[in-house]
Protein backbone atom coordinates (compact mmCIF):
# COMPACT_ATOMS: atom_id res chain seq x y z
CA UNK A 1 0.00 0.00 0.00
CA UNK A 2 1.36 3.39 -0.95
CA UNK A 3 0.36 6.78 0.36
CA UNK A 4 -1.15 8.94 -2.36
CA UNK A 5 -2.68 12.37 -2.73
CA UNK A 6 -6.09 11.13 -1.55
CA UNK A 7 -4.74 10.12 1.87
CA UNK A 8 -3.41 13.60 2.53
CA UNK A 9 -6.58 15.29 1.23
CA UNK A 10 -8.86 13.10 3.37
CA UNK A 11 -6.68 13.73 6.44
CA UNK A 12 -6.88 17.43 5.66
CA UNK A 13 -10.69 17.25 5.32
CA UNK A 14 -11.05 15.45 8.67
CA UNK A 15 -8.74 17.94 10.39
CA UNK A 16 -10.64 20.88 8.87
CA UNK A 17 -13.95 19.42 10.08
CA UNK A 18 -12.63 18.99 13.62
CA UNK A 19 -11.52 22.62 13.60
CA UNK A 20 -14.87 23.71 12.15
CA UNK A 21 -16.74 21.83 14.88
CA UNK A 22 -14.56 23.43 17.56
CA UNK A 23 -15.04 26.92 16.15
CA UNK A 24 -18.83 26.48 16.02
CA UNK A 25 -19.51 24.60 19.25
CA UNK A 26 -17.24 26.16 21.89
CA UNK A 27 -17.74 28.84 24.53
CA UNK A 28 -14.16 29.80 25.28
CA UNK A 29 -12.80 32.42 22.85
CA UNK A 30 -9.23 31.07 23.11
CA UNK A 31 -10.42 27.56 22.20
CA UNK A 32 -12.28 29.03 19.20
CA UNK A 33 -9.02 30.67 18.09
CA UNK A 34 -7.14 27.37 18.57
CA UNK A 35 -9.76 25.61 16.42
CA UNK A 36 -9.25 28.20 13.68
CA UNK A 37 -5.50 27.46 13.83
CA UNK A 38 -6.31 23.76 13.31
CA UNK A 39 -8.37 24.57 10.19
CA UNK A 40 -5.51 26.69 8.81
CA UNK A 41 -3.07 23.82 9.36
CA UNK A 42 -5.46 21.51 7.50
CA UNK A 43 -5.49 23.89 4.53
CA UNK A 44 -1.69 24.04 4.59
CA UNK A 45 -1.49 20.22 4.45
CA UNK A 46 -3.79 20.20 1.41
CA UNK A 47 -1.77 22.92 -0.35
CA UNK A 48 1.56 21.16 0.20
CA UNK A 49 0.09 17.79 -0.83
CA UNK A 50 -1.22 19.29 -4.09
CA UNK A 51 2.19 20.86 -4.67
CA UNK A 52 3.97 17.53 -4.04
CA UNK A 53 1.75 15.28 -6.16
CA UNK A 54 0.44 17.47 -9.02
CA UNK A 55 3.33 19.85 -9.79
CA UNK A 56 6.32 18.43 -7.87
CA UNK A 57 8.90 20.84 -9.27
CA UNK A 58 6.89 24.09 -9.37
CA UNK A 59 6.62 24.58 -5.55
CA UNK A 60 3.61 26.92 -6.00
CA UNK A 61 1.59 25.26 -3.25
CA UNK A 62 4.48 25.62 -0.83
CA UNK A 63 4.69 29.36 -1.57
CA UNK A 64 0.96 29.68 -0.86
CA UNK A 65 1.38 27.71 2.37
CA UNK A 66 4.18 30.10 3.43
CA UNK A 67 1.90 33.11 2.91
CA UNK A 68 -0.95 31.33 4.73
CA UNK A 69 1.42 30.76 7.68
CA UNK A 70 2.42 34.43 7.82
CA UNK A 71 -1.20 35.59 7.74
CA UNK A 72 -2.16 32.95 10.35
CA UNK A 73 0.54 34.26 12.70
CA UNK A 74 -0.76 37.82 12.26
CA UNK A 75 -4.34 36.65 12.81
CA UNK A 76 -3.44 34.86 16.05
CA UNK A 77 -1.57 37.87 17.42
CA UNK A 78 -4.46 40.26 16.76
CA UNK A 79 -7.07 37.73 17.91
CA UNK A 80 -5.34 37.14 21.25
CA UNK A 81 -4.88 40.91 21.71
CA UNK A 82 -8.63 41.38 21.18
CA UNK A 83 -9.39 38.56 23.66
CA UNK A 84 -7.11 40.11 26.31
CA UNK A 85 -8.65 43.56 25.76
CA UNK A 86 -12.16 42.07 26.12
CA UNK A 87 -11.10 40.21 29.26
CA UNK A 88 -9.78 43.45 30.75
CA UNK A 89 -13.09 45.23 30.12
CA UNK A 90 -15.64 42.48 30.76
CA UNK A 91 -13.79 39.95 32.99
CA UNK A 92 -14.85 37.08 30.72
CA UNK A 93 -13.83 35.40 27.49
CA UNK A 94 -17.04 33.41 27.18
CA UNK A 95 -18.10 33.98 23.59
CA UNK A 96 -21.78 33.80 24.59
CA UNK A 97 -21.39 36.65 27.09
CA UNK A 98 -19.47 38.95 24.74
CA UNK A 99 -22.54 40.62 23.25
CA UNK A 100 -21.63 44.32 23.32
CA UNK A 101 -22.40 44.70 19.63
CA UNK A 102 -25.52 42.54 19.67
CA UNK A 103 -28.52 44.54 18.60
Amino acid sequence: MTIGLEHYLILSAILFSIGLYGALAKHNAIVILMSIEITLSAVNIALVAFSRYIVPTALTGQVFALFAMAVAAAETAVGLAIIIAIYRNKETIDANKIDLMKW
Partner: protein, 164 residues
Protein backbone atom coordinates in the same frame (compact mmCIF):
# COMPACT_ATOMS: atom_id res chain seq x y z
CA UNK B 1 7.45 1.55 3.45
CA UNK B 2 8.89 4.07 5.85
CA UNK B 3 6.71 6.70 4.30
CA UNK B 4 3.56 4.64 4.92
CA UNK B 5 4.43 4.05 8.59
CA UNK B 6 5.38 7.70 9.03
CA UNK B 7 2.16 8.89 7.43
CA UNK B 8 -0.04 6.78 9.69
CA UNK B 9 1.89 7.75 12.84
CA UNK B 10 1.59 11.45 12.01
CA UNK B 11 -2.04 11.12 10.88
CA UNK B 12 -3.09 9.42 14.14
CA UNK B 13 -1.11 12.00 16.17
CA UNK B 14 -2.70 14.93 14.34
CA UNK B 15 -6.30 13.67 14.48
CA UNK B 16 -6.00 12.57 18.10
CA UNK B 17 -4.42 15.85 19.20
CA UNK B 18 -7.01 17.90 17.28
CA UNK B 19 -9.86 15.90 18.88
CA UNK B 20 -8.23 16.51 22.25
CA UNK B 21 -8.08 20.28 21.60
CA UNK B 22 -11.79 20.30 20.84
CA UNK B 23 -13.01 17.85 23.49
CA UNK B 24 -10.77 18.23 26.57
CA UNK B 25 -12.20 20.12 29.55
CA UNK B 26 -8.91 21.72 30.61
CA UNK B 27 -7.91 24.63 28.35
CA UNK B 28 -4.21 24.37 29.20
CA UNK B 29 -4.08 20.68 28.23
CA UNK B 30 -5.87 21.60 25.01
CA UNK B 31 -3.11 24.14 24.26
CA UNK B 32 -0.39 21.52 24.88
CA UNK B 33 -2.20 19.10 22.54
CA UNK B 34 -2.36 21.89 19.96
CA UNK B 35 1.47 21.91 20.01
CA UNK B 36 1.46 18.13 19.38
CA UNK B 37 -0.92 18.70 16.45
CA UNK B 38 1.43 21.33 14.94
CA UNK B 39 4.43 19.00 15.37
CA UNK B 40 2.54 16.26 13.51
CA UNK B 41 1.79 18.68 10.68
CA UNK B 42 5.52 19.52 10.50
CA UNK B 43 6.24 15.79 10.20
CA UNK B 44 3.76 15.53 7.33
CA UNK B 45 5.53 18.42 5.59
CA UNK B 46 8.80 16.49 5.82
CA UNK B 47 7.07 13.44 4.29
CA UNK B 48 5.82 15.71 1.48
CA UNK B 49 9.37 16.89 0.62
CA UNK B 50 8.74 20.37 2.06
CA UNK B 51 11.74 20.69 4.37
CA UNK B 52 11.76 24.50 4.56
CA UNK B 53 8.04 24.59 5.35
CA UNK B 54 8.52 21.99 8.09
CA UNK B 55 11.20 24.18 9.72
CA UNK B 56 8.95 27.23 9.40
CA UNK B 57 6.02 25.28 10.85
CA UNK B 58 8.08 24.44 13.93
CA UNK B 59 9.48 27.97 14.26
CA UNK B 60 6.24 29.88 13.68
CA UNK B 61 3.56 27.57 15.06
CA UNK B 62 5.31 25.49 17.72
CA UNK B 63 7.68 28.29 18.72
CA UNK B 64 5.62 31.46 18.50
CA UNK B 65 1.88 30.86 18.17
CA UNK B 66 1.61 28.25 20.91
CA UNK B 67 3.56 30.52 23.29
CA UNK B 68 1.09 33.32 22.50
CA UNK B 69 -1.88 31.01 23.12
CA UNK B 70 -0.49 29.74 26.44
CA UNK B 71 0.32 33.32 27.49
CA UNK B 72 -3.26 34.37 26.71
CA UNK B 73 -4.64 31.41 28.71
CA UNK B 74 -2.47 32.38 31.69
CA UNK B 75 -3.41 36.07 31.44
CA UNK B 76 -7.13 35.46 31.24
CA UNK B 77 -7.30 32.79 33.99
CA UNK B 78 -10.39 31.15 32.60
CA UNK B 79 -9.32 27.71 33.85
CA UNK B 80 -12.39 27.51 36.08
CA UNK B 81 -14.73 28.06 33.13
CA UNK B 82 -12.95 25.31 31.24
CA UNK B 83 -13.86 24.30 27.74
CA UNK B 84 -17.64 23.72 27.66
CA UNK B 85 -19.70 23.30 24.52
CA UNK B 86 -22.57 25.65 23.78
CA UNK B 87 -26.11 24.79 22.77
CA UNK B 88 -25.11 24.37 19.12
CA UNK B 89 -23.16 21.13 19.73
CA UNK B 90 -25.42 18.89 17.65
CA UNK B 91 -25.94 21.32 14.70
CA UNK B 92 -22.19 22.03 14.69
CA UNK B 93 -21.43 18.31 14.64
CA UNK B 94 -23.90 17.77 11.79
CA UNK B 95 -22.43 20.65 9.77
CA UNK B 96 -18.85 19.40 10.32
CA UNK B 97 -19.79 15.80 9.44
CA UNK B 98 -21.64 16.88 6.29
CA UNK B 99 -18.73 19.09 5.23
CA UNK B 100 -16.22 16.28 5.87
CA UNK B 101 -18.21 13.67 3.95
CA UNK B 102 -18.79 16.10 1.08
CA UNK B 103 -15.08 16.83 0.72
CA UNK B 104 -14.14 13.14 0.98
CA UNK B 105 -16.74 12.31 -1.70
CA UNK B 106 -15.31 15.02 -3.96
CA UNK B 107 -11.72 13.87 -3.37
CA UNK B 108 -12.52 10.23 -4.15
CA UNK B 109 -14.50 11.08 -7.29
CA UNK B 110 -11.97 13.40 -8.88
CA UNK B 111 -9.50 12.12 -11.44
CA UNK B 112 -6.29 13.68 -10.11
CA UNK B 113 -3.51 14.35 -12.62
CA UNK B 114 -0.74 12.78 -10.52
CA UNK B 115 2.72 13.66 -11.79
CA UNK B 116 5.51 11.10 -11.61
CA UNK B 117 8.31 13.67 -11.59
CA UNK B 118 10.66 13.24 -8.64
CA UNK B 119 10.45 16.35 -6.44
CA UNK B 120 13.51 18.31 -5.47
CA UNK B 121 15.22 16.97 -2.35
CA UNK B 122 16.02 20.47 -1.04
CA UNK B 123 13.33 23.09 -1.58
CA UNK B 124 14.90 26.17 0.01
CA UNK B 125 16.70 27.39 -3.12
CA UNK B 126 13.66 26.72 -5.29
CA UNK B 127 11.39 28.57 -2.87
CA UNK B 128 13.73 31.55 -2.76
CA UNK B 129 13.75 31.60 -6.56
CA UNK B 130 9.94 31.51 -6.58
CA UNK B 131 9.64 34.27 -3.98
CA UNK B 132 12.33 36.71 -5.12
CA UNK B 133 13.13 35.73 -8.72
CA UNK B 134 11.71 37.04 -11.98
CA UNK B 135 7.99 36.35 -12.51
CA UNK B 136 7.84 35.37 -8.84
CA UNK B 137 5.81 36.48 -5.87
CA UNK B 138 7.78 39.61 -4.97
CA UNK B 139 4.70 41.82 -4.47
CA UNK B 140 3.07 39.47 -1.91
CA UNK B 141 6.46 39.15 -0.22
CA UNK B 142 6.49 42.95 0.13
CA UNK B 143 2.88 43.07 1.32
CA UNK B 144 3.42 40.50 4.11
CA UNK B 145 5.78 42.80 6.12
CA UNK B 146 3.15 45.56 5.88
CA UNK B 147 0.56 43.12 7.26
CA UNK B 148 2.93 42.11 10.05
CA UNK B 149 3.70 45.76 10.91
CA UNK B 150 -0.01 46.56 11.04
CA UNK B 151 -0.49 43.46 13.25
CA UNK B 152 2.21 44.55 15.69
CA UNK B 153 0.82 48.09 15.93
CA UNK B 154 -2.76 46.82 16.26
CA UNK B 155 -1.86 44.32 18.98
CA UNK B 156 0.07 46.97 20.95
CA UNK B 157 -2.76 49.52 20.67
CA UNK B 158 -5.40 47.00 21.72
CA UNK B 159 -3.54 45.54 24.70
CA UNK B 160 -2.28 48.94 25.97
CA UNK B 161 -3.89 50.09 29.22
CA UNK B 162 -5.81 53.24 28.39
CA UNK B 163 -6.53 54.28 31.99
CA UNK B 164 -2.85 54.92 32.86
Amino acid sequence: MGQVIGFWIFAVTIIGAALGVVLLKNVFRAAVLLIACFLGVAGLFILLNADFLAAMQILVYVGAISILVILAIMLTREMSVGNPSNKFTIPAFIIAALFCSGIIWAVLNTNWQISNVVPAAVTTAGLADKLFGDNGYLLPVEIIPTVLLATILGAIVMVKDKKK
